[in-house]
């Protein structure tokens, strides 16, 4: 057993661009899945069954089937109708997947805000929508911070799955280098370390954000 990390160093720029793409995807998906999840949750809690039932069904479907299967479905399913780049499919697929998980949490926290909060806001003269916007949703959001943080940490790791449909993130970007250098072990070790560091940053951010919002619960 002899390890040789020199090919990894030689392909450092490729890996770095892969890290860039991974980070960018993670950022876009984070925004998309959190804001989308919040919107979906509000709609599903405050509308009648005709609207909320299909939403609940989709959330459930996204949560009980594997991400990779969903990605394949989107990739080949959408590919039948329109030509869209893998990157777009990846962002949408990962985005919808985590939007469902986030919406599931937001639905629970919106419901956990006490009726007294709604009444207090209404008694000041705020209407229904303003009460949701100023009082209920912000409180639900703050209460969701720990669990949403967990979801985002899982999501960053799941960006690696996008390589299966050819999105040029970190894992995919290294594949050419691996195939010409025959050094899969070294490359994957370095890739794992990169994810570990990303994960550390995420956990640090989550802890900080949780501390920041602790008083407001």
């Amino acid at each position: 057993m002899e390890l040789d990390f020199s090919p990894v160093i030689a392909y450092a720029p490729t890996l770095l661009s892969g890290v860039g793409v991974t980070s960018l995807i993670a950022l876009v998906v984070a925004l998309f899945s959190v804001l989308g999840g919040l919107l979906v949750a509000v709609i599903s809690v405050y509308t009648n069954k005709v609207v909320s039932w299909p939403i609940r069904f989709l959330i459930w479907l996204f949560m009980t089937t594997p991400l990779l299967l969903q990605l394949y479905f989107l990739y080949f399913g959408l590919g039948e109708w329109i030509l869209i780049p893998a990157l777009m499919v990846g962002v949408l697929g990962l985005g919808f997947h985590y939007m469902a998980y986030n919406a599931d949490i937001f639905i629970a926290t919106i419901r956990s805000v006490s009726a007294g909060q709604y009444e207090a806001s209404r008694s000041l003269g705020f209407g229904h929508l303003r009460t949701l916007f100023y009082i209920i949703v912000p409180q639900a959001f703050i209460r969701s911070v720990p669990q949403i943080g967990n979801n985002l940490i899982l999501m960053v790791k799941d960006t690696s799955v996008l390589s299966a449909i050819g999105v040029a993130e970190l894992v995919y970007a290294s594949q050419y280098a691996i195939s010409v250098s025959f050094r899969p072990f070294e490359f994957f070790i370095v890739i794992a370390i990169v994810y570990y560091l990303l994960n550390l940053i995420m956990e640090f951010g989550q802890a900080r954000f949780e501390r920041m919002t602790a008083d407001r619960r």
Binding site: Q117, E119, S121, S123, L124, F126, D215
Partner: protein, 261 residues
Amino acid sequence: MTIETKTDTPMVEIVNVHKKFGDLEVLKGINLTVPKGKIVSIIGSSGSGKSTLLRSVNHLEVIDDGVIRLDGVQVNRPDMKGLAFERHINHIRQNMGMVFQHFNLFPHLSTLDNVTLAPRKLKGMARKEAEELGREYLNRVGLADKADVYPSRLSGGQKQRVAIARALAMQPKVMLFDEATSALDPELVEEVNLVMRDLAKEHMTMLIVTHEMAFARDVSDWAMFMEGGVVVEEGTPDKFFSNPDHERTRNFLRKHLSSQH
């Protein structure tokens, strides 16, 4: 039903109000007039309908029959529907301050923001002006130094004082207190009572649902005893608390006065 100072303009009028929860009739034709600047206390055991009555004034409970007016304007409007009624009731509520048993401060907002949110968003007040006003009201309830603190850091008594400041900041025509001190530890009751006494001195119109007999006797212009959804007895506090006409009132008062120190 009518208070001695008959000539005063009525601020709150409650006329023949009925309310049912399912089959249970909780308000069976209540009448009450609160003149401007007067303080009315409503007492009674839990389930007597007193809280429901107070909440009906704020339209947090929708009454089935009767009329409630605030400063001559009808609060409940069975003839109005949808958005038109929303606009109407939101406008009415801006003129009423409501204080809840469990405070219901907004935990995600600082103390100052709790007080300034409604003036800013509903009256379109500029942030700077609203904050000046907010600090003034916090000062009035003795919590000027807590402006930037979040509610989770406050004691129950402090929370309730902020809740009062929040309601006052809308400069309401009447304040409604729904058992404002019932959820407080005994040693914290007095600080809230003090704030309410100050308001009384300034001739704020108040409708108070309370368990504090001594406080009600001191502060009110009129006292009312409810049981089973009807008004059993009402009168001036002097007469009401020392020499009530009804046996049921006497029983209730005996129980509650003796349990207080």
